[in-house]
């Protein structure tokens, strides 16, 4: 795999498309076990991201990712702002000064992102949060020598679906305790869109 500025921008555009067309769905998931703002927050945040990227010029992939991060931090009012903002900021830092990102570099960036999210949210795997998608993705990447785009997507999808059976111990859903079981975690669903979008970009580039 190779990721250049063009692909990263396309990754964010595809993510935005998925989030816009699933805005109501994300909101309904969040209304079930959270504060109901996830669809609106993500739709607003990623629309701003796409606007920002289309009006800027970039030399390095890390600069694109930094703008993604800063936009999400300032425009998303819910927990997904600092969490996704941290994820993309860590990726940006890990890829600083690189023009074409190769697979080992990308792996490292995702590992850094997950560590950042865990630290920011003080959460671990199994707590019914976005980490339940990001961590299985890291495990998957660590096992692969070459990135299979389709498998990336299906790994994220399986991980997202598995959050249905978990009891939330972090985030607003944690207040509901057992009542959170049986619902998908909204942050895991939006994380799935991010990896599904990446998978599409990689397939196009292959």
């Amino acid at each position: 795999m190779e990721l250049q500025i063009k692909q990263v921008i396309s990754w964010m555009e595809k993510t935005n498309e998925k989030i816009q067309s699933n805005k109501e769905y994300l909101t309904s998931l969040d209304q079930a076990i959270g504060d109901g703002d996830h669809g609106l927050n993500m739709a607003r945040g990623f629309q701003e991201v796409v606007n920002k990227l289309s009006s800027s010029n970039y030399t390095y992939v890390s600069d694109v990712l930094k703008d993604v991060s800063m936009t999400l931090l300032s425009k998303v009012g819910g927990a997904s702002g600092p969490l996704y903002g941290t994820a993309f900021l860590k990726m940006s830092t890990a890829l600083k000064g690189i023009e074409t990102v190769d697979y080992p570099q990308f792996k490292k960036a995702v590992v850094e992102a997950v560590n950042g999210v865990k630290e920011r949210g003080k959460a671990n795997k199994g707590e019914k949060t976005m980490i339940d998608v990001w961590e299985p993705i890291v495990d998957f990447l660590q096992k692969q020598d070459n990135l299979e785009a389709k498998e990336l997507e299906s790994t994220a999808e399986k991980a997202m679906e598995a959050t249905q059976d978990l009891k939330a111990t972090k985030g607003r859903a944690a207040y509901l305790k057992e009542r959170s079981i049986g619902h998908l975690d909204p942050g895991s669903v939006s994380s799935y869109y991010i990896f599904a979008a990446l998978s599409e970009v990689l397939e196009e580039g292959a």
């Binding site: 504060d35 703002d37 927050n41 931090l73 300032s74 425009k75 998303v76 009012g77 819910g78 927990a79 997904s80 702002g81 600092p82 969490l83 903002g85 941290t86 920011r120 949210g121 985030g171 607003r172």
Partner: protein
């Protein structure tokens, strides 16, 4: 003499305005800055608002940050990581009661550490 600054962070602008009103009844002159709601004033928190509030509340005594739910703490911690000031701390205490006691202690000229300790132990006071 300067006083430890207080920053109130809530998902709702009304919540922090109300808390400031309560504080001002007893403590008229301690810096109290607000970071309530998102950048467009809806329910949520915003790191830039928190950064501005720190800037306005800051003096050599330092600033303490009080927060309510979820993203409020994460954004408070982010703002602390992003600031160049050293004496800025997030306090784990109830937003209203903690900030109230902190304002009173700050008004008495206490240090950052003393004010923080009083706020954290707010329910232990008789």
């Amino acid at each position: 003499m300067s006083n430890v600054g207080i920053v109130l962070i809530s998902h709702s602008p009304k919540v922090v305005e109300g808390i400031k009103d309560i504080i001002r009844q007893m403590v008229p002159d301690v810096p109290v800055e607000l970071a309530g709601g998102t950048d467009d004033g809806s329910i949520g928190t915003n790191v830039e608002k928190i950064q501005n509030a720190i800037e306005n509340a800051y003096n050599e005594k330092g600033v303490l940050l009080f927060f309510d739910l979820g993203s409020a703490m994460m954004n408070a911690e982010l703002a602390v990581e992003m600031t160049d000031y050293e004496k800025v701390k997030v306090v784990k205490a109830p937003l209203l009661e903690g900030a109230y006691v902190a304002a009173v202690e700050s008004g008495m000229g206490k240090t950052l550490e003393e004010v923080e300790k009083a706020a954290r132990n707010v329910f232990d006071q008789t």
